[in-house]
Structure formats: structure tokens, C-alpha cells
Amino acid sequence: MKRLFEINILLVFLFLYIPIIVVVVFSFNSGEQISVWEGFSLDWYAKLIKNPDVWRACKNSLIIACAATVISTIIGTAAAVALNKYRFRLRNTIIHTLYLPLIIPDIVLAIALLTFYAQVKIPIGLASVIIAHIVFNVSYVAIVVRARLQGYDHTVEEAALDLGANEWQTFWKITFPLIAPGIIGGALLAFTLSIDDFVITFFTAGVGKTTLSVHIYNSLKFGITPELNAISTMLLVNSIVFILLFVWLHGKNIRRTI
């Protein structure tokens, strides 16, 4: 029986990882064919670096992700702190509301924003994408930070207050360092989601404001070249760096709590 389970695990991992490995391997292919191996080369990466469209898309992705991450981390953390610290009438309603942007299919959120922008005459450009990204990022940040706030011992805050610290000092000297891993975790998650988002960006970005994801999609539609494998691999590396950072932070605070 145990053997059968282990075979299942193995098959699931093969299923999950073979496609990813295929993309990475074929990004080093020398030929024009996207899935026929012809020999090792870095040609596609060289082409990629020389492609001004990729650089422009990369710049847009970074601007959107940075702006959306900073704003959503600040206001998401503030909300998480408030929800953890205070008890008030609409508290549960607000907690449930925070989950709503995650429950609604992203295409619905995307077209809702698109009709809204059309109605109030907000021009479609970079700002319209940043606004949209903050909507889903803020929920993720608030949830991650709130989980961290629930996980620690609040008596240390009371101790600080008893010993004469004011609330402001208590927050920056006690609460903030304790929840910092949660905040950074939330920010990393927001950044990754923002960089990777396609559907919402696709609908809310203006003409010419292409991000990396939209660039990949357009290349898919207008003929696949191995350059696509190279861009994908670079985005993969970006994601893996962020996962490692996330795990490293997480591992560190597990050790701290022990």
C-alpha cells in the first residue's frame, strides 16, 4: 500500500515538473524549432537581451509590481493590524470582504475595472494596471500579515506598555519586528503575483504598456520562437529566487520561535 502512495507521489511530481524542465532545457536549444533538440547554445538569450520590446516590457512589469507592492503592503498591513488589535461591529464583515477579490474569477474583476475606467474616463495606461493589481494584492498582504499577528504572544506588547512605553514605541519596537517576516512575506507574494499576472493586466493595460506576461502572450499568438523559452526561463529564475527568500524568512522565524 505504501508503495502505491509513493508511486502516486512520484507521478505527481513528474507531472508538475516535466513541463517546467522542458521549457528551461529548450531555452538552451540552438535550432529554430521550439521542441526539437539541436544542440546547446545561448543564442536565444543573446537575442533576448538585444530585443528592445523585451526591455520595455520588463521595465513596465517592474514599475507596476513595485508600485503595487509598496502601496498594497502598507495599506494591507495597516488593515491587518487594525483587525487584530480592535474589536468593532463591522469587523467580521470587513474580514470577509477582504477575501472577496480572491473568490471572484479574475476575468470578472478585470472586465469590471475596464467598464469602470470607461465610465469615469480614467485613461488606460500604467496607473490603471497598478490600481487593479493593488485590489488583489491588498487582500493577500492582509491575510498573510494577519496570520502572522495571530501566531504570536500578545503579552509582550502588554509588558512593554506596563513598563512605560507608549503605543507608538510599542508598535515600532515590539510589534513591528515580530510581524516583519509576515510583512516581508506578504510583500514578496504581492510582487510575484503582480509580475506574473496576465488576465487583469491584459484587460486594464493601455496600448503599448505591455508587461512581460502580456509580451509572452502576444508572442504565443503571433508565432512561437525559442526566444519565448528564454524569457520564460528568466521569469522562472525570478520566481525561484523569491521562493527561496520566502522560505529563508519563514525558516528563520521558525527557529526564532523555538
Partner: protein
């Protein structure tokens, strides 16, 4: 009074943001779904129910049903594959448990578009699957998998399997397996113990996982678009066309609200079932 002031400062940015850029846009789309489309893409502010009548047209109902049934099949496959996976991690507690869990999460962090695109390389007629099979079987005729509903189904399972495994694991990990041992000691066969002890106790995980898989798959736009090659149309693709090429915002909005109704109905059913399972336990 001071408390109220601080609460207001901390909470108002989020509330304002969601109000302005989430609730108001949803209402704006709802209004759009009740007006006429203009001749050149805009809208004419006349009230009409025509957009919803079109949604219930045979063609769109069929597409809606295809989205729902594919999402249900996807959920079932994820459950069948994910359950033994989560069970193994929770019950046998292998040494590498945390690493294995991390490896399940990693794909979640990787760009969905890239993960879907990867399947084109594998499934196309000149792709890796066919090359592999033709080496194994001499005289093998390449399979045409890409741009079929089957390819879309593979892509959807691939995209959302981790969403099933994690909540299942969370539910099974908290479970007290000594209850299973007790059932076995009292003469229950392993199968009986599974159906009457393990499975009922893991229902919250099953429900949560099913929700997390069903909701994004029923509204999927990217997977059918990329792996279906325009031949496998989901409700998400019809919505996209109304906004990107047909410029029929009112009809697209009406379709989106139908999709939202399905998703919200699913959510309500989920909470109902969760309550039932909890009251059954006590």
C-alpha cells in the same frame, strides 16, 4: 474616541480602495449589463434585458455548461490524485515532508502563462510526447492532442492541482490517526475504517480544495485560449471576445455576472456543506 480615530486611520485606506476599485466597478459592470450596445462599440443608455436573454440562448448555455462540466471533471481528477498524495504526507510523515510540500507550492509561484505554454511544447503534433511515443512504438501515428478539450483538461488539472493538495493536507495533518487504529482494533477492515473514519473527518479539506479548484477553472480564460487554440471555447473566452474584439461591453458584462452567480452559488453550497459536515461530527 482615540481608539476610533486610530481604527479609522488604519482601516480606511483599504476600505476606500476596495470600495472605489472593487465594489463600484462591479456595480458599473452590472449597470452595463442592462443597457444597449452602441453601433460603434460604445453603449446607448437605454434599459434592456436583451443581454441576459442572449445569455440564455442555446449556444451560450452550451458553452456555460461546457465550462461547468469541465471544471467539475477537473475538480474530481485533482481530488482523486491529490487525496492519496496528501494522505501519504500526513499519515506516513516522511522525513522529507516539508521539502515535498514546498515542491507542491513552487509551481504556484511560477507564472501561470509559462506553465500553460510549456504544455504546447509537450502536446503539439511534433511535440515531445509524440516524439517519445514514436521512439517507444515503431510505426506510431502522432496523436493530435493540442487544441482539443483533452489538452485543456490537462492544462487545468496541471494549473490547479496544488490548490487541492494543500487544504487536503492541512485537514489530514490535523487528524488524529489513532481513531483509525481504534476502528481497526474494533474489527473494522482498513477499507471500512477509511470510508467511515478518515474520509468523513477530512471533508472540510475536500470541500476547501474543491472550491479552490472549481472557482478558477469555471472562469478560466487563459488555459482554453492557449491549449484549445480557439477551438475549445469556455465562458471566459466568450467574455474576452466581447471586450477585446466584438466591443460588446453590455453582453460581456451580462456573461460575467452569470459567471459570478455560478461562483457565488458554489461558495454558498460550500458553506452549507461545511456546516453539515461539522454538525454531523458533533
Amino acid at each position: 474616541m482615540r481608539h476610533n480615530y486610530r481604527l479609522f486611520i488604519l482601516l480606511s485606506p483599504v476600505i476606500l480602495w476596495l470600495l472605489c476599485f472593487f465594489f463600484v466597478p462591479l456595480i458599473s459592470a452590472l449597470i452595463y449589463s442592462f443597457v444597449e450596445r452602441g453601433t460603434y462599440g460604445g453603449v446607448v443608455w437605454n434599459f434592456t434585458l436583451e443581454n441576459y436573454q442572449r445569455v440564455f440562448d442555446g449556444l451560450y448555455l452550451r458553452i456555460l455548461w461546457r465550462s461547468i462540466s469541465t471544471a467539475l471533471v477537473c475538480t474530481a481528477i485533482c481530488l482523486l490524485v491529490g487525496y492519496p498524495f496528501a494522505y501519504y504526507l500526513a499519515y506516513y510523515r516522511p522525513k522529507l515532508r516539508n521539502v515535498l510540500l514546498l515542491l507542491v507550492v513552487v509551481p504556484f509561484w511560477i507564472n501561470f502563462l509559462i506553465r500553460t505554454y510549456a504544455w504546447i511544447l509537450i502536446l503539439r503534433t511534433e511535440g515531445l510526447l509524440n516524439s517519445f511515443l514514436s521512439i517507444l512504438i515503431p510505426g506510431f501515428q502522432p496523436l493530435e492532442i493540442l487544441n482539443t478539450p483533452f489538452a485543456v483538461q490537462i492544462g487545468l488539472v496541471y494549473g490547479y492541482l496544488p490548490f487541492m493538495i494543500l487544504p487536503l493536507y492541512a485537514a489530514l495533518e490535523q487528524m488524529d490517526f489513532s481513531l483509525v487504529d481504534a476502528a481497526k482494533d474494533l474489527g473494522a477492515s482498513p477499507r471500512h475504517a477509511f470510508w467511515h473514519v478518515t474520509l468523513p473527518l477530512s471533508i472540510p479539506g475536500i470541500l476547501a480544495g474543491s472550491m479552490l479548484v472549481f472557482i478558477p477553472t469555471v472562469g478560466a480564460f487563459l488555459t482554453p485560449d492557449i491549449l484549445g487554440g480557439g477551438k475549445v471555447i469556455f465562458i471566459g473566452n466568450v467574455i474576452e471576445r466581447q471586450f477585446k474584439s466584438a466591443r460588446d461591453y453590455p453582453f460581456g458584462s451580462a456573461l460575467s455576472f452569470m459567471l459570478m452567480v455560478i461562483v457565488l452559488a458554489g461558495t454558498v453550497l460550500y458553506f452549507r456543506a461545511l456546516q453539515d459536515s461539522e454538525s454531523a461530527e458533533t
